[in-house]
């Protein structure tokens, strides 16, 4: 498989866009015309060829540019990557998981050679060739989690399991939908989810937590989550709210198609072997409204989902300022025809 890596930006002049292939493989998250929270967890099994679910770790045309954007964010704010001292074993587990998966599924891009603890990692797109000793952090230029997540698309949180709870004790979070690792670090599953509306009353988090506490090695799971972002910006963090918050007021009927993006997070969870920790990957996909409506079913459906969305959810996701403008724009692409069940384009 060959991937052509686009040169694009996620800030300032925002040159990010999707190729027609990227639009076709977009993980559209709505399987019906309405949306509400649920314990939407399924096995992270290999999906259809070319889809984002084909491999456990998905590398796409935005890889090189996303990694560059992550480096810029980290240079400005090193606290986006943090790890408590007891998480070092989990960090190495993550190195193993990501390197093995990337090398196995993208052999033209990545090569991993393991000779006992002596490992050699070749990353062709980023021009890296690193020999190191697995388990010895002094043989890598960055701590292990930071090293590998500077080379893998998506944000990552490492959760320690103790006292029948999960604790966010490490992470690389540079493209988050308005939450902060620096604020959440050391918190448990119920604490960091506290700001989410309605879900508590539906006992969603207790059920999800019980499920995750029993997550087994070799049986990863995934779920989809979504929000919206103005401009194709990865770093929509509370830390930099001043740089992007005001963009929400800039949406007009003329620029909806270009500016308003649906942001989908493919979240996968693995039990890690040596540490018994869980890794939570948040792999984000952005698509603007012009691109989205090239798939008629998605245009109809997203119009309806957005129109019917509970106000609490719209408020929490930060859509209130531009929701109506977007619904009006999408209405032109919804002829009222029925939509077929499932995520796929018709």
């Amino acid at each position: 498989m060959t991937v052509h890596f686009k040169q694009e930006t996620f800030r300032d002049d925002y040159t990010y866009s999707n190729s027609p292939e990227a639009i076709r493989r977009f993980p559209f998250p709505f399987d019906k015309d309405e949306y509400m929270y649920s314990v939407n967890i399924e096995q992270h099994m290999p999906g259809p060829a070319k889809s984002p679910f084909e491999f456990p770790i998905d590398i796409d045309e935005h890889y090189v540019s996303e990694m560059r954007d992550r480096a810029i964010t980290l240079a400005q704010d090193p606290k986006r990557c943090q790890s408590l001292p007891h998480m070092i074993t989990a960090e190495w587990d993550l190195v193993e998981l990501l390197m093995e998966s990337m090398a196995k599924h993208y052999p033209e891009l990545f090569t991993l050679t393991q000779d006992g603890d002596r490992w050699r990692w070749i990353n062709r797109p980023l021009d890296i060739d690193q020999t190191f000793t697995f388990g010895d952090a002094s043989t890598l230029p960055y701590p292990p989690m930071e090293y590998i997540t500077r080379q893998c698309q998506g944000d990552f949180a490492l959760l320690d399991q103790r006292l029948d709870n999960l604790w966010m004790d490490a992470g690389m979070i540079t493209s988050q939908a308005d939450w902060s690792l620096d604020f959440d670090i050391g918190m448990n599953f119920l604490e960091w989810h506290a700001p989410v509306p309605l879900a508590k009353d539906m006992a969603i988090f207790e059920r999800a937590l019980k499920f995750l506490l029993n997550l087994q090695q070799g049986r990863p799971v995934r779920r989809l989550n979504w929000t919206m972002t103005i401009n194709p910006r990865l770093d929509t963090s509370p830390e930099n709210y001043d740089k992007w918050g005001a963009d929400r007021a800039t949406v007009t009927p003329e620029n909806v198609g270009r500016k308003v993006h649906l942001r989908v997070e493919l979240q996968a969870m693995w039990r890690l072997p040596r540490s018994n920790a869980i890794v939570f990957s948040i792999r984000g996909y952005l698509i603007n409204m012009d691109e989205l409506v090239t798939v008629p079913k998605w245009a109809r459906r997203f119009h309806r989902v957005l129109r019917e969305l509970r106000p609490e959810l719209a408020e929490y996701k930060g859509l209130t300022r531009y929701r109506q403008t977007t619904i009006d724009w999408l209405a032109k692409h919804d002829d009222g025809a029925p939509t077929s069940p499932g995520f796929q384009p018709d």
């Binding site: 408590l84 007891h86 074993t89 587990d93 320690d160 399991q161 103790r162 006292l163 019980k210 506490l213 029993n214 087994q216 090695q217 070799g218 049986r219 072997p273 040596r274 540490s275 018994n276």
Partner: protein
């Protein structure tokens, strides 16, 4: 299968480690390496005994440096209905068994300042792995290990060699008593305690900890619980429309599996919560033997754990 991914293993070595304890070394059948695991993990060993499959949980002692094998230790239980007896009498070197992926219900509390490991008898198996891991991480720890007599030699010699005087031994034949009120005083704030052994010992240690004012979040235990026996009763699955009999020497989980039904389960010892089901009707008294449901959940009579709990009465109807 509901227990998750299974691994085919070959018995590479069997050793009489103590009077009633055999240690088994399992190698991956395909010659590859076995998954890493975190200390405190166990696997479920599946034993084919004629028509039936016995499934017992056994803690992992260690994984060979090169990943080629695991070790477990099995105590021969008096009046065994099968599992430990099978392991002791019927398994020989070269035999093939299946195990599940490691599962950890007894994890170390890594941010702890110091770790007190307390083992009695066969309870040494997870403690052995924990001590190794703490040593690897350079953490502070002590091991307190109570045995009947020196016939527990194999574990003692290895742990002595690895952990030196961090291991304190208590031999009952020499009237050395492991008393929790002598271990706890003077431990630094933020110390965590882990205990595994006979039920009576676990209770005494946990109670001693609470009495000494330790927060219960700092006290961790694993019980090698086996499904207790009882009277037979009828089991009806409302959704599946299935009725079966649970014999006195069988758990509900075993009876359902025998009937070709495959409910979710993991530890089979009342600890993980995976096998919880909703009770629709109970003609009799629910006997809860798990360590998972809260007192309130038990009192409500709405849930029961298939792997270890039972009915004292005629018929139980479940939402399955």
């Amino acid at each position: 299968m509901s227990g998750g991914v299974e691994i085919a293993v070959v018995v590479a070595e069997i050793e009489q480690a103590a009077r009633n304890v055999k240690r088994f070394r399992f190698a991956a059948k395909d010659g590859g390496s076995l998954p890493h695991f975190a200390a405190g993990s166990h696997v479920v060993v599946l034993m084919r005994d004629g028509e039936r499959t016995i499934r017992n949980a056994y803690s992992l002692i260690d994984r060979a440096e090169d990943g080629s094998s695991y070790r477990i230790g099995v105590l021969r239980t008096p009046n065994s209905r099968g599992g430990s007896k099978f392991m002791h009498e019927r398994v020989s070197v070269g035999d093939e068994l299946r195990i599940t992926m490691p599962v950890n219900l007894f994890p170390l509390f890594h941010p702890g300042r110091k770790h007190l490991l307390i083992a009695g008898g066969i309870g040494v198996t997870p403690i052995y792995a924990m001590a190794d891991e703490l040593q690897r991480r350079g953490a502070l720890y002590e091991i307190h290990y109570a045995v009947r007599d020196e016939a527990h030699g194999a574990f003692i010699d290895e742990m002595r060699a690895r952990h030196g005087d961090r291991l304190k031994l208590y031999r009952r034949d020499l009237e050395e008593i492991l008393a929790v009120d002598q271990i706890l005083p003077g431990q630094p704030l933020g110390t965590h305690l882990y205990v595994c052994g006979p039920e009576g010992m676990i209770e005494a240690v946990l109670e001693g900890g609470l009495e000494a004012g330790w927060p219960k979040e700092h006290l961790h235990a694993e019980r090698f619980q086996t499904p207790p026996t009882g009277e037979p009763f009828a089991l009806r699955l409302a959704k599946a429309g299935l009725t079966c009999e649970v014999r006195g020497d069988q758990s509900m989980l075993e009876a359902l599996e025998e009937a070709g039904f495959d409910p979710p389960s993991l530890c089979r010892g009342g600890a993980c919560g995976q096998c919880a089901v909703d009770v629709l009707e109970a003609d009799g008294e629910l006997i809860h033997n798990d360590h998972y449901l809260s007192a309130a959940e038990r009192a409500s009579g709405e849930k029961i754990m298939l792997c270890v709990s039972r009915l004292k009465g005629r018929e139980l109807v479940l939402d399955l």
